[in-house]
């Protein structure tokens, strides 16, 4: 069984890769290609978001700000610092990763509510700073990032399509590696029950901080790549709460526990956004649609569409196990036994059967 499953899985990944790489060839015109670049950009961003959201369960609405920082960092290093574009891109990502340490330090010391508040505030304060600090950032006049290659516009799109695809592959591989590692295990224990994880000796704060920095670095890379591709930066659009919310929607819709969840979400939401723009471009109905979709996902599908569809498929396939969450718990236990981690949380059920207990700890915890 595992062998067949693995072959199928690899086959699916190869197929996906082929589909992604073949897209520029079949895209009928440059506009569709540019929409494809945008969707890939979303896919990288939401996958990067999922380092924090998926592993630790901390929902950040502020990743738009990290992408904006990466974009402005790259743009400023190229336009004002005169660095070569791709050196600027990586340098900017490194700077954002360094900045993520103090940001994470303030944001991750607190749980839940405050973390969300900090993440939203990050977007709002950076918007103010980048608007006001016009002598450096260009303020509302915007920042023009020189083109890295001298190409016609369709060619420019094509090159960046592949660059984004490569970045996506790197982000996916990084996520996959963490997912399989002990580090990932520790992170997931934070998601399931932070208090217990801490009590059992996991260095929860350090874990959270490290994964936040990794997430920030990938987000900044995506933002910087966007800057090189798009060429015009404006604080209002770079530091927008809406961007952050799109990323959350994409990841949740696809499924935060899945490697390909955010990618699936990005494709659905990205295509839907383009569709709404083309069909209902002259109304703010895209906001209504985004709001409705987000509410529906939160209320009825908090695990995302991939597990939901997976469950549906499994109804027709009795040979597989019944619930995605059981699989993940079993997997946790299996890995834990294998690695002799010495902690005892493995036996704790995740998901629905665990909710009651977590809820009580949370309610009870308020009185401590």
């Amino acid at each position: 069984m595992p062998n067949v499953s693995r072959i199928l899985k690899i086959g699916a990944i190869v197929l996906l890769a082929v589909a992604v790489l073949a897209f520029p060839g079949v895209a009928p015109n440059p506009y569709i290609l540019s929409a494809g670049v945008l969707v890939l950009n979303y896919a990288v961003l939401s996958t990067s978001w999922n380092f924090v959201g998926g592993f630790t369960g901390y929902i950040s609405l502020g990743h738009g700000a990290l992408a904006g920082l990466g974009a402005y960092g790259t743009g400023l290093l190229v336009a004002k610092g005169g660095l070569p574009p791709f050196l600027a891109l990586f340098l900017s990502a490194a700077i954002v990763a360094a900045l993520a340490v103090p940001i994470g330090f303030a944001a991750l010391r607190v749980r839940g509510a405050s973390f969300v508040i900090v993440s939203i505030s990050l977007v709002l304060i950076l918007l103010l700073v980048f608007q006001s600090w016009a002598s450096v950032t260009g303020g509302s006049r915007g920042l023009v990032v020189p083109r890295p290659f001298d190409l016609s516009r369709p060619e420019h799109h094509r090159v960046f399509y592949y660059l984004f695809a490569a970045l996506l592959a790197a982000a996916l591989v990084a996520w996959w590696l963490i997912d399989r590692s002990r580090f990932g295990l520790g992170l997931k224990s934070i998601r399931e029950d932070e208090d217990k994880a801490e009590a059992l000796g996991t260095a929860t704060f350090t874990y959270k901080l490290i994964v936040f920095v990794v997430s920030a670095a990938f987000t900044a890379l995506a933002g910087g790549m966007y800057a090189l591709w798009f060429g015009d930066l404006d604080p209002v659009f770079q530091f927008s709460i809406l961007t952050g919310s799109y990323l959350v929607l994409m990841a949740l819709l696809g499924g935060v526990r899945q490697l390909f969840g955010p990618v699936a979400g990005a494709i659905i939401v990205g295509v839907a956004l383009e569709y709404f723009k083309v069909e209902y471009g002259d109304t703010p109905l895209h906001l209504v649609a985004t709001g409705l979709l987000l509410a529906l996902v939160v209320l009825f599908m908090p695990d995302g569409i991939l597990p939901a569809v997976g469950d549906l498929l499994k109804r027709f396939d009795r040979s597989q196990r019944s619930s995605i969450r059981e699989v993940s718990a079993a997997e946790l236990r299996e890995q834990r036994l294998k690695e002799q981690a010495g902690t005892e949380t493995g036996g704790k059920g995740t998901g629905d059967d665990g909710t009651g207990r977590t809820a009580m700890t949370e309610a009870g915890g308020t009185t401590r």
């Binding site: 569709i32 540019s34 016009a134 509302s140 516009r153 659009f237 002259d282």
Partner: protein
């Protein structure tokens, strides 16, 4: 060992396929003609902010474009072909405006493009047009930054750039006898290249002429509470008040200043005072407010008489500056198309650009010609609210009323 991601395989395949299908399907519709054919309409692609921060002036420009298309089509079209506008909404968003022009030029294969509204959106969209080698005549990117980007395809279809809007007013003030001339000035400008450009253009000239700057405030476009800025200005007791405003911010600032009882000797605001809603919005306390304008309904240019008449018949009211800017854009492109004898993507666009570079076009705002950066070589008139009506007071040769200084109390 089954992993969670293995369950993704089926949906992923569907999604990858559906992405291609959906995106591909988008390109199927949206009738672009293949150019060339002499009976096909000339399709003109436009992206405008019909929702969002700039939706108000965006709609004005749209009406100007529509009025122009109707006038042209009623006369039998351009080069014997009917004109068809394809207008998309960019939600006042730079990402959108780029995607819009990408769609219009790359997918819909429009023959010509017109510009969007607001400097913020003009620069990114002009780059798209440039990289597709399209002529880009725009009605609203008046800030000087637009002309510093090295665009070779851009022309601004209005008499003057933002920094030159107050030229006549600056001359007038500096020509006053030294004992009457204002001593101090307060500036408040929206953080927007156009709005700041107007205020700072005047500021530079007044400072050079010895008028001291006592307040210099910049506020973000989403500001709604102006009481802090108003308090500073009131406290400074500046003689001259200059507002680099769009519309609503100008109204809010004036109301906040009136709440504090501030009475300047001269008050000039860009854009806001020429809006038909302005007087009622500030409770008719308009006395003496100045504003630069590039357009007058009463101007004697031949095409203007026709524009005012046809526009009023079509929309039931007289056109304002935004509408005139849209209409002017149409006139400029039409002149180039008629002279070059073509209107399609490809080599034709360069012919259009070359022609405009060296010729003068008669428009509803007067004759227009451009320098190498696409900057128009003209100046704006100055209007003033006199007894419940806004009248041209500068320059002297076209004035409808006397310039009044110090202005009456509002």
């Amino acid at each position: 060992m089954p992993t969670t991601s293995s369950h993704a395989r089926f949906p992923m395949k569907f999604l990858a396929a559906s992405m291609i299908l959906t995106l591909g399907a988008c390109s199927g519709g949206g009738g672009g003609d293949e150019g060339g054919g002499s009976d096909d309409p000339i399709v003109i692609g436009i992206s405008l902010p019909l929702t969002g921060d700039f939706s108000e002036p965006g709609k004005g420009v749209q009406q100007g474009y529509e009025a122009w298309a109707k006038v042209v089509n009623d006369k039998g079209g351009l080069l014997g072909r009917q004109v068809e506008l394809k207008i998309l909404d960019d939600q006042s968003n730079a990402d959108r405006v780029v995607a819009d022009y990408e769609q219009l030029i790359g997918k819909d294969q429009v023959d010509l493009v017109f510009g969007p509204f607001s400097t913020r959106l003009v620069v990114p969209s002009a780059r798209v047009a440039e990289e597709y080698d399209m002529l880009f005549v725009e009605p609203a990117g008046a800030a000087k930054e637009v002309f510093e980007q090295g665009f070779k395809n851009l022309f601004y279809a209005a008499p003057a750039v933002a920094n030159d809007h107050y030229n006549y007013l600056a001359e007038k003030i500096l020509a006053m006898p030294a004992d009457q001339r204002p001593k101090t000035a307060a500036y408040a400008a929206m953080d927007d290249p156009f709005a700041q450009g107007t205020a700072y253009g005047l500021k530079e000239k007044l400072e050079a002429g010895g008028v001291r700057t006592v307040v210099d405030e910049v506020y973000p476009p989403n500001t709604t509470d102006f009481s802090g800025i108003a308090a500073k200005i009131t406290d400074s007791k500046a003689d001259v008040l200059v507002g680099g405003s769009q519309y609503q911010d100008g109204v809010n600032l004036i109301v906040a200043l009136q709440q504090l009882g501030y009475q300047p000797k001269l008050a000039a605001f860009s854009t806001a005072p020429t809006n038909p809603e302005f007087a009622s919005a500030i409770g008719n306390k308009t006395a003496g407010v100045l504003s630069p304008t590039g357009y007058s309904q009463d101007a004697k240019y031949p095409s203007n008489t026709e524009f005012v008449e046809k526009y009023t018949a079509q929309f039931g009211k007289a056109p304002e500056e935004d509408q005139a800017n849209g209409y002017t854009t149409g006139q400029v492109v039409a002149a180039a198309v008629t002279a070059a004898g073509c209107a399609e993507q490809g080599d034709c666009q360069q012919k259009l650009i070359d022609w405009l570079r060296t010729n003068t076009v008669e428009t509803v705002v007067g004759p227009l010609s451009w320098d190498d950066t696409g900057k128009p070589k003209g100046a704006h008139m100055i209007q003033q609210w006199v007894g419940g009506d806004i009248k041209i007071v500068l320059p002297e040769d076209v004035k409808e009323a006397e310039f009044s200084y110090p202005k009456p109390a509002w």
